[in-house]
């Protein structure tokens, strides 16, 4: 769960600006944590590394959402064309 005192579950060096996964850390300037803050606007000091399982689940969800959106757009297009052909095309 959430580490105390703003420590990072990844165990990385807090001052390592090259670490791409560093999104938030306790007391760090906004410029160093990419502007990500706790919901209340305060640095939470929380971050978490996703496991392989979580990454795979996220990827599956993203793909499902993408296909859903594509499907929705295609259906809207086809329905519009069908209605137009009925109402305008006679």
């Amino acid at each position: 769960m959430a580490p105390e005192n703003g420590s990072d579950t990844t165990g990385d060096n807090t001052n390592d600006e090259t670490a791409p996964e560093r999104l938030d850390s306790s007391g760090a300037p906004a410029s160093e944590n990419f502007g990500f803050h706790h919901r209340e606007g305060q640095p939470s000091g929380e971050s978490v590394s996703l496991t392989e399982e979580q990454l795979a689940a996220r990827k599956k969800r993203n793909i499902a959402i993408a296909w859903s959106l594509i499907g929705f757009m295609v259906v809207v297009f086809l329905v519009t064309v069908t209605r137009l052909s009925q109402n305008v095309g006679g």
Binding site: L23, R39, V48, L50, R58, R61, V76, V79
Partner: protein, 330 residues
């Protein structure tokens, strides 16, 4: 700045990182309920005396299914606490922790809006309005207000499940007619005996969750009597489509045969001691003790009864198997 490939994410307090799969979100939509919704809506659409473009009809039915699923997701989000205490529901995606409550709400709301919009585009505004109202009725009126406050919860809330055939009818015709109301009423009257039969042998589950289902609030004996009374009204009313000409000989025969068996099982429940000694808490999902067998039988048969009634309408109107019942058509 792009964090899309980042393997570390900001996390709000107490919020777990999800491992939910698309299947978990699909389960959130109560796929078995969606199946019945699609089937009864299809029956209403087919029985309506108006031809409709097959593609638009398909999209409309899909919209209805998604709308019903959205209502199911909102129901599961709100009922996560009681679902977790009931054996019948504790494996649902929210109580088992696969999907968070906020995500369930989010999906339910988004799917509700999209389904209503799509219905308006593919069918008509009346069908879209009925769909929106049925989602609201199920998610808010039934789930948030009635379910935990009155033993009449499923009597009034049953209206939500009765809308699909009416919406199917409206998809085709653009209006609500007497036949559409009759189809609505059949499911409305079917819901109490169906739900109370289940509640009789799962009353312990409902009592533990503080849901005032009829057997919990009024006792098993009163519930058995009400099941019998509702069954009589249902079986009689199921003959109404014959009187209006909506149902022909096939429907009449199905309604008579199925109704007789339905009444037989309802009388059997009335004479039994089903629900007297609590519920069958152990074993498989729908496993019951010998004393509750009558309740289980009616619960199972009620699903088949509704299915064959609407299947008869589909057969008559889709496969040109309609023969009017002599002397009774108005």
């Amino acid at each position: 700045m792009d964090h899309s490939t980042n393997s570390s994410v900001h996390r709000a307090e107490g919020e777990a990182v999800s491992t939910a799969s698309p299947r978990d979100y699909f389960d959130l939509m109560k796929p078995r309920v969606m199946t019945l919704v699609v089937f009864t809506a299809f029956a209403g659409l087919i029985a309506a005396p108006t031809d409709v473009d097959p593609f638009l009809a398909l999209i409309s039915i899909v919209s209805l299914a998604i709308g019903a699923g959205a209502a199911g997701a909102l129901n599961m989000a709100y009922d996560a606490d009681i679902d977790a205490t009931m054996k019948r529901t504790q494996k649902r995606p929210v109580p088992r922790g696969a999907v968070s409550i906020s995500n369930a709400y989010g999906m339910g709301l988004v799917a509700s809006i999209l389904s209503v919009l799509m219905m308006a585009l593919a069918a008509n505004y009346l069908a879209a309005g009925l769909l929106a109202f049925s989602i609201f009725f199920y998610a808010v009126i039934y789930t948030m207000i009635l379910k935990r406050s009155t033993p009449q919860n499923i009597v009034i809330g049953g209206a939500a499940g009765a809308f699909p055939p009416m919406i199917g009818w409206v998809i085709a015709t653009g209006e609500i007619s007497l036949d559409a109301v009759i189809l609505f009423m059949i499911i409305f009257l079917w819901t109490p005996p169906h739900s109370w039969a289940l509640a009789l042998y799962k009353s312990g589950d409902y009592a533990a969750a503080n849901v005032p289902m009829m057997p919990v609030a009024k006792g098993a004996k009163s519930t058995r009597l009400q099941i019998l009374l509702y069954s009589i009204v249902l079986v009689v009313f199921a003959g109404a489509p014959v009187l209006t000409g909506l149902g022909g000989l096939v429907y009449a025969a199905t309604s008579l045969g199925g109704g007789a068996l339905f009444l037989l099982l309802a009388v059997r429940i009335y004479k039994s001691r089903a629900g007297e000694a609590g519920s069958a808490e152990e074993g498989a999902l729908y496993a019951v003790r010998a004393g509750d067998k009558a309740a289980r039988d009616l619960f199972a048969f009620s699903i088949g009864y509704l299915t064959v009634l609407f299947a008869a309408l589909i057969v008559e109107h889709a496969f040109d198997a309609y023969w009017a019942v002599p002397g009774v058509n108005l």
